[in-house]
Amino acid sequence: MPHGRGLLRFARRLATDPSEAEDLVQETFLLAWRGFHQLAEGSSARAWLFRILINAHYGRMRKTKSAGTVVELTPAIRGGCSPASEHLEVNQALERLARDHRSVLLLAVVEGFTCREIAEILDVPMGTVMSRLSRAREAMREALAPGDARDARAVR
């Protein structure tokens, strides 16, 4: 399934549990299939799929009236992660990021999209993407600094 792994990886950070993440990816492919005529020739199908996924996620949030709540990532991520400490540290740090910052960071760092593509996927100005990316990187860097990592382990 083209781009399925990337979409699922990203969906796990949006959804509240592994099955919801899978449902989200499934919904994304079905929406893409039904709306294939809307994909402009020459445009990136991958970016289009991520945009569909994000819109589907927002649609679900509106339905469940959960917009603005803090998304607990751990259950979804535990479904697919090894218990290695590095995984826990990184995932805990990601969990503490604001959702908008986390999305931008994952799209850039993990999925390899450019700032321009991310701006189109999220339908926000490019300057917003740049500032969110900078803040997300800074927050991750602080969270993953050796001292913070020890604190995180002590809390756990």
Partner: protein
């Protein structure tokens, strides 16, 4: 460039989006500013760590793929239901003494053509249809047809409305839709050389499929009308193909 500008442009540097003079100026500042160089290097290490951790997560999408295929193509139970319905229709026709049926069940691609017609014509699922003669001609050429040749396949009172390319059981086929302004029927045509065979009709209750084989093409007509009407439309295709 100042350190502040470097911080502002750092995301574009990471994603390779610095343009024009920005890149040499950016690189020039880094070469001369150890603080900014350290800052970017540290960011890069964090990026690498995040990417490494997330990329190493198991991501099994097979279950999702099965669900999506089941929804889209009706594989598994759905397709089996269509196939079963056609087989059941064949048995009923044989039991009723109909001479439309030859021995054995109809080929599986009948069911696929019927499903395509149902979803794409009857239920109107969005597809990239070609409606202009020039565009139809372009897609028709892909199976050795043309717009003129396709338009001639219309039954009396009908006209060619739209066309697209699709896959039917592994064979690339031209999907033509004909309309009289009220009703529609589909004609599927694919290059498939073989000994010519007569028209054979099968139905599942809602769609009728009339398959045929010419020396050059495999074709099928799918209607929502009676088996007789479906066979009549297929005879037009045989005569003009």
């Amino acid at each position: 460039m100042t350190c502040e500008q470097i911080r502002h442009l750092a995301p574009l540097y990471r994603t390779g989006e610095l343009w024009g003079d920005q890149r040499p100026q950016f690189m020039g500042h880094l070469a001369a500013c150890p603080a900014c160089e350290r800052e970017l290097s540290a960011q890069g290490q964090v990026d690498d760590r995040i990417a490494r951790v997330l990329a190493s997560e198991p991501c099994d999408t097979s279950r999702i793929e099965r669900q999506v295929r089941r929804e889209i193509y009706g594989t598994g139970k759905t397709r089996w239901r269509v196939w079963g319905a056609i087989a059941a229709g064949a048995l009923l026709a044989i039991a009723g003494g109909s001479m439309l049926w030859r021995t054995g069940p109809p080929p599986s691609w009948y069911a696929v053509a019927a499903l395509d017609h149902r979803q794409e014509v009857r239920e109107g699922h969005p597809r990239r249809w070609r409606v202009e003669p020039v565009e139809i001609d372009q897609v028709a050429q892909r199976v050795g047809m043309s717009f003129e040749r396709s338009a001639r396949l219309a039954a009396a009172g009908y006209r060619l409305e739209r066309a697209k390319i699709c896959g039917v059981d592994g064979l690339r086929m031209l999907h033509l839709v004909f309309t009289n302004g009220k009703d529609r029927y589909s004609v599927f045509i694919g290059q498939h050389p073989g000994p010519p065979k007569g028209v054979r009709v099968a139905g599942d209750g809602s769609e009728q499929v009339a398959g045929l084989q010419t020396a050059q093409f495999r074709a099928a007509v799918v209607t929502e009308g009676s088996p007789d009407e479906c066979e009549k439309f297929a005879r037009v295709v045989v005569a003009k193909l």
